[in-house]
């Protein structure tokens, strides 16, 4: 079975002719992988038997998510299923995901379903990037979930980042002690996070066409980190230029 990933050049080329700016999760993850940030291997299944084959190759349990350029927040359309422990569940999940997305957003074109191994839980963080009209690309770091959404506890730096910038970014957020170990919880791999931020900065330097990027969540472990979802938005190409 062909499970090779696309290179960034292929992804950008494929997205641009149709003036498509929101990359799919599979495409986004391939880019993130190429940037040197650890990411859960994720593959596109175009039908349920393909989904089952991918799940078998990756190993159960798996997570499945609908792949559609029109769907911005997959969980809003019932497009995510986690903890699928058998191939029978995988096949059924394929049909369910497609059906619920069709129902929630009839206009959405569904390319298939992304299948990924279910990552062991870790401390959730978010790594992101966006383009500021005055200064260009900005990298963002914060704790995932409530911390980022409600408390807006994030740190920012302009691209390019220095090692000191990365070090400060991780330590600057108020919730840093959640990463640095508390009570019985061992500290997360802070260096791996810093490395990911530096790699993200290098990636953005090379790819000015990236408008926004979200890695949300990224799981942090005592050893290593793993991005489990990725979303990349490209700049619109002006046909006049």
């Amino acid at each position: 079975m062909q499970m090779g990933t696309m290179t960034s050049t292929e992804i950008f080329k494929k997205a641009h002719p149709g003036d498509r700016t929101l990359l799919t999760e599979v495409e986004s993850k391939a880019l993130v992988q190429e940037a040197g940030i650890p990411v859960v291997p994720t593959h596109l299944a175009r039908n349920k038997s393909q989904a089952a084959r991918i799940a078998q190759a990756l190993g159960l349990p798996v997570v499945m998510k609908v792949v559609s350029p029109e769907v911005v927040h997959k969980s809003d359309v019932g497009g995510v299923k986690t903890g699928l422990r058998s191939l029978r569940q995988v096949r059924a999940a394929y049909d369910d995901l497609v059906a619920s997305t069709r129902k929630a957003l009839p206009s959405a074109s569904i390319l298939g379903v992304a299948v990924q191994r279910m990552a062991p839980p870790g401390v959730e963080v978010i790594l992101g990037a966006f383009r500021n009209p005055e200064f260009g690309h900005v990298v963002m770091f914060g704790l995932g979930g409530v911390m980022v959404e409600v408390l807006q506890d994030v740190s920012l730096r302009l691209v390019p980042l220095t090692r000191r910038d990365a070090r400060q970014m991780v330590r600057e957020i108020k919730g840093f002690s959640l990463l640095n170990g508390y009570r019985q919880h061992p500290p997360c791999d802070i260096l791996a996070l810093e490395e990911a931020l530096l790699n993200l900065s290098l990636f953005l330097e090379k790819h000015p066409e990236v408008k926004e990027l979200d890695l949300n969540p990224v799981f942090c472990y005592p050893q290593g980190i793993l991005a489990v979802d990725a979303r990349v938005v490209l700049e619109e190409v002006n046909p006049n230029t």
Binding site: I126, E134, F135, E194, R231
Partner: protein, 492 residues
């Protein structure tokens, strides 16, 4: 990097288009100030009046018999293109446009006019300062836009997008003893922009400290590069106007919606080592701190000169601003008790001067003695003005004593000393006078004066922060550290 601009600001001749006899007009101020102080030739241009302030006018820049280096425009925007052409014909290096109502109106016609000015200037090589700005204050050359600006030369350079705020930096700073190398108000930044001017001040040997008031950034990435270049050489303190303006672009992701322009600006300042201030007062405070205090090693502060509740609050405010009010170390304590067993073991940091009555030690002696300890990086002293009793002579001798001790601490221990002298309502005329005298003497002595403890503490914290940033940046710039900045396994 930026010194190529230097020749622009050393004109041998200046023409003022719109030089007016009417003192309410800015064209009058420009001309009068130049007439009073500028060392080169000054030409008034006015097509109605025959003479201004006794100087015969020219109807147009074209009528000036020689070439002219620098032209200030205080005429309406309708006549601007003709002036631009005339300046080009007279080989002017710079046209400063006090003239306003261009792109800042948001109107199409005015924006187009501005672009045409730029097009003609670029084609000829003439530079434009502004439009919509007060221009240049350069005391060494005798150029000033404000009537009351100091004539003496100093080491503070500043750029300001707003002329009014530029004036406030100058007059507010002057009031606290600052003197300037040059202050450039640059308005719409049509040609000369924030990055050009920052590069210039960074390389300018006449400037040791840079301040700035910025609204919109024209060339973000170049400005960031200019700031990195500048902060590696001299301290830079900036104030950003329009910080709270929401981003105008559409955003769909978490990341973008979480970061407004204020947060991005703050991040930029952290990365470049710029001291980011939040008000005109804070900006001037930083220029005072950098001008009048040597580098401080750390955040440990000795607080002196307060009485009772004031010293308690002073300690709180220092801690809240991020300084550490460290207890008196054992050796200094021993020295104190050997000099006066009772007060020596009672006194603490903050030093409460009011408990010292009847002691063999004066509050100033106590502060000086403790300040000698390496446990303290910086000293902040409250200046007591409101103590009742004592005539003018007592007050005067108290002032002299305070100044001598403060100068001694700064001189003998090479430690930064900040003085807090609140703007207060005096009890009587005599006290107003003595406070004013004290203030003036402190400024003359070269002390950094702040109107409140929390402002002093904040400025000290930022002063230390800049010098620490600089040390770290130098460390990081060593080849060993630079090699670890990329992809691949972490190098520790």
């Amino acid at each position: 990097m930026g010194l190529e601009l230097d020749s622009l600001f050393h004109p041998k001749s200046i023409a003022v288009a719109g030089a007016s006899a009417s003192p309410e007009k800015q064209g009058h101020n420009y001309f009068k100030n130049l007439l009073d102080s500028f060392h080169g030739k000054v030409y008034p241009i006015n097509f109605r009046a025959e003479e201004v302030l006794g100087v015969p006018t020219y109807k147009s820049v074209r009528d000036i018999p020689e070439n002219v280096d620098y032209v200030i425009s205080a005429i309406p925007n309708l006549e601007i293109l003709d002036l631009v052409d005339a300046c080009i014909a007279k080989k002017a290096r710079v046209l400063h446009l006090y003239t306003a109502r261009f792109s800042e109106t948001g109107f199409e016609r005015e924006t187009k006019l501005e672009q045409e000015v730029l097009r003609r200037a670029r084609a000829s090589g003439m530079r434009i300062l502004g439009p919509n700005c007060m221009g240049l204050y350069y005391p060494r050359e005798g150029i000033a836009w404000g009537n009351g600006f100091p004539k003496e030369v100093g080491k503070v350079g500043a750029i300001s997008q707003s002329g009014g705020n530029g004036s406030e930096i100058i007059t507010g700073g002057a009031n606290r003893g600052l003197r300037f190398s040059k202050v450039i108000s640059y308005g719409n930044a049509l040609d000369l922009n924030e990055a050009d001017l920052m590069e210039y001040l960074a390389d300018d040997p006449e400037t040791d400290i840079i301040g700035g008031y910025i609204e919109g950034v024209r060339v973000g990435p170049r400005f960031v590069r200019a700031l990195r270049y500048a902060t590696a050489r001299k301290p830079v303190a900036l104030l950003k106007g329009g910080r709270t303006q929401a981003g105008t672009h559409m955003v769909s992701s978490h990341t973008a919606s979480l970061a407004g322009s204020r947060e991005v600006w703050e991040a930029m300042c952290r990365q470049t080592g710029v001291i980011n201030t939040n008000s005109m007062e804070e900006l001037v405070d930083m220029l005072v701190a950098f001008s009048r205090m040597p580098p401080a090693r750390g955040f440990n502060v000795l607080v002196g000169g307060g009485a009772g509740g004031k010293s308690v609050l002073s300690a709180d405010e220092c801690e809240e601003e991020g300084l550490r009010v460290e207890p008196i170390p054992a050796d200094a304590r021993q020295e104190l008790t050997s000099r006066d067993p009772f007060f020596g073991s009672w006194v603490t940091n903050p030093v409460d001067g009011s408990i010292m009555g009847g002691s063999r030690l004066s509050p100033h002696e106590v502060v000086t003695l403790i300040a000698s300890s390496p446990a303290y990086d910086v000293v902040i002293n409250n200046i007591t003005t409101g103590r009742p009793g004592g005539g003018a002579t007592t007050r005067q001798s108290r002032t002299t004593q305070m100044i001598e001790h403060t100068a001694g601490i700064a001189r003998n221990f090479s430690k930064p000393v900040a003085l807090v002298l609140p703007d207060m309502i005096p009890e009587d005329e005599q006290m107003l006078q003595s406070t004013q005298e004290m203030r003036e003497r402190c400024i003359k002595e070269g002390f950094a004066i702040f109107p409140s403890m929390s402002r002093a503490a904040r400025a000290v914290r930022r002063l230390v922060g800049y010098h620490r940033w600089l040390a770290e940046a130098k460390e990081e710039a060593t080849p060993k550290a630079a090699a670890s900045g990329g992809r691949g396994p972490a190098l520790h």
